[in-house]
Amino acid sequence: MKQRFRNYKVIVVVAIYFSSVSILAGCGFKDIDKRVFVTGIGIDPAEKLEGGYKITLKLSLPVASIKSSTGPNYEYLVYEGETLAESIRILETHTDKVLEFGHAKIIVINEDLLEDNVKDFMDYFIRRSDIQLIAWVAAAKTSAESILRVEPAAESAVSSTLVNFFGGSGSDSPFIVSTFLYEFRRNMLSDGIDAVLPLVDATEDKKELIVNQSLVVKEKSKPFELSSEQSKYYNSLLNGMNGFSYKAESEDLTLVINMEKIKVKYKILTNKGKPTSIKMNVKMIGIIGQSNKNLSLKDLNKYDKIASEAMKGEIEDFLTTVQEKNLDPMGFGLRYRTMMLYDKNTNSEWQNVYPTLPLEVSVNVSLKGTGSIE
């Protein structure tokens, strides 16, 4: 019995030895100290090369401990090349470590590039499986590189200011439009909706970042810049983003309203399958944040009316501006396409009608109170 047991053991040990040889042949993993994390990617048009790109990678340098470090440490890699993939391959030779893209949370694109070759470089990001589809995409005024290079004094170690602007995890404001990579791709490539990107600007001394405008991006047309007011209405209508300072004015009264809740419903009215108008119903709930006069709680209904009128004007202004440019950030075209069985003419039909389609907006503001003073 004992003899048999020993034989068995020998065979098992030999088998383990042999099988481990095949595993030992090559270790594919690289340790974390051989990796460097890319936290941001910037794309600009190349300065020297015709039709090329200038890539900026923001690398986060490791710190020994968060407590002892004085601030964030970054390194920037910049290279100009004909394609994105090629430039990044070359940039891999500019550092001794492996570039790890799994933590790239922000992609900044120069606004000049958004006109016609978006598809070209967007393809690279989607194809590369290690870049998150939940990375934020932003457009940069003047240059993506200079935006990435801004290091605000308020920035803490192991964090990135630019990322905190988006998604409501840091700054939370209706002026800031946040767009995921997958969302940008989806809206840009689909018929009936146009993608909107936040537009990032820096202060003149390159110390602080400003994000309150946005761009409507449509393939093969110049991106249209939304002012900060328009961005706010876009955000409120589409994303239900609420927040502060919606201004309402009547003859002698100026109110600033803090919105708590915004509900938007819209439908496209049709007659015999042809779209006739867009009907939008907006419900807002809020309180008064500031006024130039003493208010009285009894008159809330009156203020409701004033606010409704003012909001209606603003929303109509935003919608007609984009409509005149034949842009559709709200996705009215999508809604129209959901209304009938598939037919290949639906889309071109919509495209013809949309720029002149009448809009009917009705806004219903209900104010809950006047804050802590009357």
């Binding site: 095949s22 595993i23 090559g26 594919g28 993993f29 690289k30 989607i126 499986s129 290690d130 998150q132 589809l133 939940i134 998604g167 409501g168 995890s169 995921f180 997958y182 969302e183 791709r185 989806r186 809206n187 490539l189 689909s190 018929d191 994303n239 239900g240 996705g331 999508l334 809604r335 396409r337 959901t338 009938m340 069985l341 598939y342």
Partner: protein, 364 residues
């Protein structure tokens, strides 16, 4: 109906997301995927009903045993071999797709051989387990992972970024003729029940199969197909959805858990489906192995009272999967799995016919 039958059905249903089913369905999205899915749910539920009813007639016996006793050799062996091929391919497709997915998204630097080898090593130990332990393992994995999958599903559906307009647009494509390859792919989710071919040995009681059970299966199938097909469209748009190689993994990467332990849902997704896919794979290969054993009985291949045949078969399985994962390209895999899914109606027909024959002969 014994709870284990539900496990068979549900495991295959859930693991379809990891196999090539969503890819094929979405590839056919503009060519009649929706009518095919509706047809598949109705026919699939019926098939489940028929198969359970037929197995009721032969309690406590596996199909290979029955075939060998009651049918002539020229009939029994080819049928068994065909069934073996189907089960082996079903497992192989899940395995190869998963390996591809794993090295694309999880560890691109590890070589494909290492990854496959690591998977296959675990699987081959599992495949050799006793049938009864297999059932208990299925139960444990279901209990562990299904809550996680439900949590993920809630995340997928509750996210405001899921654009229902795109889903509605895709529904507007219902006015196409059903597509055969989409039908085959959708039918795959009902394949799980056929594991009874071997596991029937363990069930000696009659299965209760009434309206209630049928409704549960049909309804779950519908929900699973709905999720498989429409959620990727809602996240990635309708026009370009067929471009994705792994539509579901890309979709899971579109979810962000703002305050979660891990921000990217993709890792939780891949790991929880790893569990589900493994068990579904184990069940398929276990059945494949048992059928193969019943065909080739090498009674003389014994070592210290132990049959060596199963070990040899498993080594063959391992070698085939190692070679194929190295050789196949993603396109070939796609075509290969399309053919497999398209052959499923034949598979069901063969199975049902042989069951009917067994039933008739047994009563004679």
């Amino acid at each position: 109906m014994s709870r284990f039958l539900y496990y068979f059905i549900f495991l295959t249903m859930f693991s379809n997301i990891i196999a090539s089913v969503p890819k094929i369905l979405l590839f056919e999205s503009k060519k009649g995927a929706i009518p095919s899915m509706i047809a598949a749910v109705i026919i699939g539920t019926l098939l489940v009903y028929i198969i359970v009813k037929l197995f009721d007639a032969i309690p406590g016996k596996s199909l290979p045993e029955m075939l060998k006793i009651h049918t002539p050799k020229w009939f029994a062996y080819p049928v068994l071999f065909y069934l073996f091929l189907c089960w082996f391919t079903a497992g192989l497709i899940t395995l190869i797709t998963y390996v591809f997915l794993f090295i694309t998204f999880f560890s691109p630097e590890t070589s494909i051989v290492n990854t496959t080898f690591a998977f296959v090593l675990v699987i081959s130990f599992g495949v050799l387990m006793k049938s009864r332990s297999m059932l208990y393992m299925a139960e444990i994995v279901i209990v562990l992972f299904v809550p996680l999958i439900f949590f993920l599903l809630i995340k997928f559906f509750a996210n405001p970024k899921l654009d229902w307009d795109f889903i509605e647009i895709s529904m507007m494509h219902a006015n196409h003729l059903p597509s055969y390859s989409a039908f085959g792919a959708a039918l795959y989710i009902f394949v799980g029940i056929t594991n009874l071919v071997i596991f029937n040995k363990l069930f000696t009681k009659k299965h209760k199969m009434g309206w209630k059970q049928l409704l549960i299966i049909g309804f779950t199938g519908m929900v699973v197909l709905f999720t498989t097909y429409f959620v990727p469209i809602g996240y990635n748009g309708f026009e370009q959805i067929e471009d994705f190689t792994f539509p579901w993994v890309s979709t899971s990467d579109s979810i962000r858990m703002k305050y979660g332990l891990i921000e990217r849902v993709i890792f939780i997704f891949i790991l929880s489906f790893l569990g589900i896919a493994f068990v579904s794979l184990l069940l398929h290969w276990h059945v494949a192995l048992k059928i193969l054993e019943s065909i080739f009985e090498f009674k003389r291949l014994k070592w210290k009272g132990k049959m060596l045949a199963p070990y040899i078969f498993v080594i063959i399985f391992v070698v085939i999967s190692l070679v194929l994962t190295r050789k196949l390209t993603q396109y070939q895999l796609f075509v290969f799995s399309s053919y497999f899914y398209e052959s499923l109606p034949i598979f069901f027909t063969v199975l049902i016919i042989s069951l009917v024959i067994v039933k008739r002969r047994a009563k004679l």
